[in-house]
Symmetry: C2
Subunit: 118 residues, 2 copies
């Protein structure tokens, strides 16, 4: 199944996880119907400069962030670090993360959340 970027389902999330501003989300494929694996989210996130997603934990699942464009600051379970296009972040097993666009261009992140086997 091929999905063109113009056909993604769009979500706008203000103050996501108590963060600042509004995160734009493009859902690439839909969990449960299109995705048969235990994948809870497969999406591209767009954060304009200054926009953030607040700190939150992932229990019994893990999230992969791949920074596609821009730069930002990741709180990686309590430790802050700068990331830029090409870098990636793995958060799971009860750990938490937060992200903020600290650059001057849009921060684009590919996000995949996979649930652990029961």
């Amino acid at each position: 199944m091929i999905r063109k970027q113009s056909d993604y389902r769009i979500d706008e999330r203000p103050e996501m996880r108590s963060g600042n501003g509004t995160v734009r989300i493009e859902h690439l494929f839909e969990p449960g119907t299109e995705l048969k694996a235990p994948t809870r989210l497969c999406a591209k996130l767009y954060l304009e400069p200054g926009v953030s997603i607040g700190f939150h934990r992932h229990e019994n699942e893990e999230e992969i962030f791949v920074i596609v464009k821009g730069q930002g600051e990741i709180d990686d379970n309590g430790t802050s670090r700068q990331v830029a296009a090409g870098d990636s972040v793995l958060t799971g097993n009860g750990a938490g993360h937060a992200v903020k666009n600290t650059g001057s261009e849009t921060l684009e992140i590919l996000a995949v959340i996979s649930k652990y086997a029961e």
Copy 2:
């Protein structure tokens, strides 16, 4: 866990799935050790112009391709279609796919393979 692009494990795969040329693979995180979910591959694929990955099927798992840069032709279970940066492809449940870089710049693809629950 944050991984900088310069720290990815690199793989070079000549004639991948009987395709042409050599595919460069950056492994973002390692299945089974770093990744606890049933994810079999989390990688960025680089195909130079003319390079391809031959047709192959995914049984009891699914693969998500996100085209990060460039353009190419996808054989989506028997139907060929052009894709470009921003588009995505889902292949699973016994279906197959192939990909070829038909453009003039490097084709970059984010690939995640997730196994179905048993």
